[in-house]
Symmetry: C2
Subunit: 320 residues, 2 copies
């Protein structure tokens, strides 16, 4: 991983071709949806304690990673669910990233960070490469890519881009998110040149102009929620060389035609994420009838179905 | 702390009155500016290791908190610098928050988080109150307030507001940030009703309408960088009952008149932050001539000067 002689965009494209579908498994561990057996085992070893809860969550994530690894090129651990575990939760995020790397998966840290100047640099240090302090090497989470928030402007994004690029990594900048209220600011009409999201999209395209890989896509991507067709088509046109991270498949109600519009004519340039629909397939996803004892089969079935659906979708001609 | 029968806005106002100035000390530990003696002690105890670096940073933060506590109502730990410490760094953030609480200080977590629905709820769980998982209590960082990013819209902000309010806490939503490039998106002219930041300001005012304390200010505040007078005056008018968190004093070049414009006519409704200008006063602030051996005196002098400057500023009549 983190082969800095290569572009993230090229590594992602190669990984997608190797696994056969442009998909990503979200690692969003929700304690209430984790099989009881993990808690039983962890509480026996660590006591009924916060350490025990963390051990259960971690063990569950590790098994999910093993199950999905043959089928997905990338995983997307969501920082919030690790932070919510309290003291030490961030360490579990590191452990999950390390396990995913060991399994040959690309790791997209879903952190949605954003801050000014040297603070942004510190956030980026936590994610990419290593840093030396007084001759001591401080290891980051060594991820391949991260999500960031553009509200503070280009000079807040630049330290993330610089650090990611130095370590062969990439970024997905929030453009249009998948929540119901995403239009509130993102779709505000500007005095000139469309909506706010259009201006963000033009900037994302520009920020990525100096890091276009051999595959034709850049290392600076965009998060584009695919809940409606026209906005997805429009953003694809505004950012022709920008790789999209598309959340919202399954649980968030992404529509097939909108997701299709995120790909280019050759079915490239996007990666589609599913979180609870895969990792919590039995407890909160489409496969409730598997039951807790068959949770692994549910995850495997769910990821295979997801793989087939998106592979098919990407191969269909796009509407225009 | 976290007395949920009270509003954050009222607790903040009381703390400001008790300490005599509306100021906040930023806790942004930059390893390169920490006195060598902390590394010498920590490396002797923990070896020249990442654990040693973390111990040095933690010990430095704890001493800074002791020095500033008599002079400031609140501190603002910056999450990025703790995350940058690698595995375990987030634990040090928790430790710093706990120490600040023990010293009777309000804690403003500068995390600039933002995400959708249940993910936002998980981020909020990491900061406010405690959560039960399988009968085990998971303790948050127990902060009084946090900074958040509005780009994803009101439904992404709501879980933070709900959770903060439940625990007597508050929020500062990014409105106009203090970086040079903040205007890139924030000041884009909208088709109707001013710039993007104006629309964000109107929403912040509305989001806080149901949590106005006895002091007349709400629990939903705004981050307003005070680098120019007119924008500060304008935002003060758009958000008359919104408490402002004003970064940029000292290092970031906040101008006195712009900072003054963030207060109301009675000198209330804002808290001004200084980070490196106080905690790194000798290494990177205004008091380099103190030298490393006198770093504590530098911090004490800096915080007292800061206290006097802002107390004076808040008492002056505002330009209009």
């Amino acid at each position: 991983m983190n082969n800095n002689s290569q572009h993230y965009a090229d590594r992602l494209q190669a990984a997608i071709e190797a696994k056969g579908a442009p998909i990503c498994a979200g690692i969003d561990p929700r304690p209430e949806w984790i099989p009881q057996s993990f808690y039983d085992d962890a509480f026996e070893q660590h006591g009924k304690s916060q350490t025990g809860v963390r051990a259960a969550v971690r063990a569950f994530c590790m098994e999910v990673l093993e199950i999905v690894a043959p089928h997905v090129p990338a995983v997307k651990p969501q920082a919030a669910f690790f932070e919510a575990l309290g003291v030490g939760g961030w360490n579990d995020f590191f452990a999950v990233c390390a396990k995913a790397r060991d399994l040959g998966l690309l790791v997209i840290a879903d952190v949605k960070r954003g801050d000014i100047g040297s603070t942004a640099e510190a956030y980026a240090q936590a994610l990419f490469g290593s840093t030396e302090v007084k001759g001591v090497k401080i290891e980051s989470a060594h991820v391949d890519c991260a999500t960031i928030n553009p509200y503070l402007g280009g000079d807040s994004v630049a330290p993330f881009i610089d650090r990611a690029r130095t370590h062969g990594g990439g970024l997905y900048v929030l453009a249009r998110t998948s929540n119901a209220g995403s239009a509130e600011f993102q779709q505000l009409d500007l005095k000139h040149n469309g909506a706010l999201v259009d201006e963000v999209a033009r900037k994302i395209d520009a920020w990525g102009s100096e890091s276009v890989g051999e595959c034709g896509f850049s290392d600076v991507g965009a998060v584009v929620g695919a809940t409606h067709v026209e906005p997805a088509q429009h953003l694809r046109k505004l950012m022709p060389r920008t790789p999209f991270l598309v959340p919202g498949w399954g649980a968030q109600g992404g529509h097939a035609a909108a997701v299709r519009a995120c790909f280019d004519a050759e079915g490239r340039g996007a990666i589609v994420n599913s979180s609870r629909g895969v990792m919590h397939a039995y407890a909160a996803g489409p496969l409730k009838d598997y039951g807790e004892a068959q949770w692994q089969s549910a995850v495997e079935t769910a990821v295979k179905t997801f793989h087939a659906e998106i592979k098919q979708l990407a191969s269909e001609p796009a509407a225009s």
